[in-house]
């Protein structure tokens, strides 16, 4: 009957050392501390000079812990609480969303070069945003319109790829290319029809940035992203199994199509939520899972939280650079690309075998 391995005492102490998580948990804790430090620094930096003490006093007063918002510090309050803080929280949210969904798409599609925009989320969102920008009578706000079209694009991809039963990975990717092409053509068409001012706005939106992030964005996007990232994190082990291929996943007790559908829906949801509020920010979703794998290995139970922290730190830093590098703001998407491309080139030259072999 069932073949049983009797527990032997000889290997018992080895269980703790071989499967020790300590170093990886320590690393995650260090990254979390790094995120707090980066956010605190970002809060103090910007066009309006503030000392760390001022920032601290303002935040504490706002939280109702110590002191109160005095008329003298109103300006501090506006700068820190209404401008910088929501921006930083949005940067963290977007970083977390893109990095985790990047890791999930890479695992689901068994390809370490996949990014979260692969199923046409970005082109759908761009089309929706352009539509909202050009036609003010359009019933949806720019943001909502972007979200709706992002969701529409991915749904179309899914239905298009669905020939019989659940779609295969290759068909999904191809359908993503097709739908992406259609929506990109739509964006070009709308840009062509736009006035100069509108065109500038569309281009600005396409480059992505946190310039307009408010508490309202935080209130909408952050809970959604937290929920989605939590769901993806909970399925980290299943994603490991899924990345071995459908046949093996099934023989290991995982329903590949069901799990992939769940994970793709979650990843698409958080990506769409962020794209629609801050535009297309390239490279984060591709780079951060890679960087996480270099640090903690390929186990997605650690890759996802590690990528979330790295992505958040990265976007907080990039956004701070975007705000402070020049007198006027640089779209953050330009900075992430400028820093991201050399990073990937470095990976390509030095670690190819370990990562892609």
């Amino acid at each position: 009957m069932a073949h049983n391995v009797e527990p032997s005492d000889a290997l018992d102490p080895a269980v703790d050392t071989v499967f020790s998580l300590r170093s990886r948990l320590g690393l995650l804790a260090a990254l979390a501390a790094g995120l707090v430090a980066a956010s605190a620094a970002a809060l103090a930096m910007g066009a309006y000079r503030l000392s760390v003490a001022d920032v601290w006093a303002t935040v504490l007063a706002r939280l109702g812990l110590i002191g109160e918002v005095l008329p003298a510090s109103r300006l501090h309050d506006t700068v820190v609480w209404n401008m910088r803080l929501p921006r930083i929280i949005m940067a963290i949210t977007v970083g977390a969303a893109l990095s985790s969904s990047g890791a999930v798409f890479q695992g689901c599609f068994r390809n370490p070069l996949v990014e979260p925009y692969i199923l046409g989320v970005s082109s759908g969102a761009a089309f929706g945003a352009a539509l909202g920008i050009i036609y003010p009578w359009f019933p949806l706000s720019v943001q909502l319109s972007a979200f709706v079209f992002a969701a529409l694009a991915v749904t179309t991809v899914y239905l298009l790829a669905r020939v019989r039963g659940e779609p295969a990975i290759v068909t999904l990717v191809l359908a993503g290319v097709i739908v992406g092409a259609v929506f990109s053509a739509g964006v070009s068409m709308l840009t062509y029809l736009a006035t100069n001012v509108q065109m500038r706005e569309i281009v600005f939106w396409l480059m992505g940035g946190f310039y307009f992030s408010t508490w309202r964005d935080v209130a909408i996007a952050t809970p959604l992203v937290a929920l989605g990232v939590g769901g993806m994190y909970a399925n980290g082990w299943t994603l490991n199994v899924l990345s071995m291929g459908d046949q093996e996943a099934r023989s290991l007790g995982v329903h590949p199509e069901k799990i992939r559908r769940l994970l793709v829906v979650l990843a698409t949801l958080v990506t769409a939520a962020t794209v629609s509020s801050v535009g297309v920010i390239a490279w984060v979703g591709l780079m951060m899972p890679h960087a996480a794998r270099l640090l903690v290995g390929p186990d997605n139970r650690f890759v996802i939280p590690c990528a979330v922290l790295l992505g958040s730190i990265y976007l907080v830093l990039c956004d701070t650079l975007a705000r402070t590098l020049t007198a006027s703001e640089i779209p953050v998407g330009i900075i992430t690309s400028l820093l991201g491309a050399p990073y990937l080139a470095y990976l390509l030259r030095s670690r190819t075998r370990g990562l892609f072999g």
Binding site: H3, V5, V15, N240, E248, G253, H255, R301, G354, G357
Partner: protein, 267 residues
């Protein structure tokens, strides 16, 4: 353990399995062999619930495979694919821990017992020293052993292996078959397909020979490994001899003319 009765399967209009009947008992190492395209892989895929057969019965431990969800099925049958390179460099211990997936609690949390089983299996298969190595960087033989360890750690009463020795050197091939023999001795039903008739003749307790028409013969290797059976599978290209008391299948071409009389000279 595994019971297949009059199993029929067709990809669209083209039938692949036309009434296959066989069974594999617990504690038995059963070898399946036959030419390319005769339906060995299809049969395996049916056993693993990857394909839905159109008629006949397929039960494992008395349960109809068709009606089981993947998790239940994974508790009954473990699968060893041909060694491969997955896209991510998982460590050997994590690959083997994947075998525990049907036993894991919520969120894939591994309990102490799961980790113990992983280490014990690695030791049993003889690759405990590879536990912390990336699976991708191992040799083909080591990767195959890791996959066997994964299936053993799954603790299913039936293990299916898809050509477990293809692409391996001679000593690794023998090593794999010996591990499979010892695995069967512990009570597991082991069902492996192979392209080498000698392997199944030498190492298996039972042999099932298939050709495009279905099962040709099944039973003890000495009964199945006869020229009349091999003629129906490989169209007269083999001859069976006893080498040092061991039944051995040889290609007719390597023998001298005195052994080829039955079919006349080879042109």
């Amino acid at each position: 353990m595994l019971r297949v009765q009059d199993l029929r399967f067709a990809y669209g209009p083209s039938p692949v399995l036309t009434g296959v009947t066989l069974d594999v008992a617990g504690g038995e190492l059963c070898g399946l062999f036959g030419p390319n395209g005769c339906g060995k892989t299809t049969l395996f895929r049916c056993c693993l619930g990857l394909l839905e057969y159109q008629a006949g019965a397929l039960t494992i431990d008395g349960l109809e495979v068709r009606r089981l969800d993947p998790r239940r099925l994974a508790g009954l049958v473990a699968y060893v694919p041909q060694e491969h390179r997955p896209p991510f460099p998982f460590l050997v211990k994590d690959i083997v821990l994947m075998g525990r997936t049907p036993h894991l609690t919520w969120f894939g949390r591994a309990r102490r017992r799961d980790k113990q089983v992983v280490l014990e299996t690695l030791e049993k298969v003889g690759i405990l020293d590879l536990a912390d190595r990336p699976y991708n960087e191992l040799s083909g033989g080591q990767r195959q052993l890791a996959l066997i360890a994964r299936a053993v750690a799954q603790e299913a009463p039936l293990i299916l292996l898809d050509e477990p020795t293809s692409g391996l050197d001679f000593s690794n091939q023998v090593r794999i078959w010996q591990i499979l023999q010892s695995l069967a001795k512990t009570g597991t039903a082991v069902f492996a397909c192979s392209h080498d008739p000698n392997h199944v003749a030498w190492f298996c307790d039972k042999v099932v020979a298939m050709n495009h028409a279905g099962v040709v013969a099944g039973g003890h290797p000495d009964e199945v490994m006869t020229e009349s059976v091999l003629d129906r599978i490989y169209a007269g290209s083999c001859t069976v001899h006893s080498v040092a008391g061991v039944t051995t299948v040889l290609p007719r071409q390597v023998l001298g003319p005195e052994h080829q009389q039955r079919f006349g000279p080879v042109t």
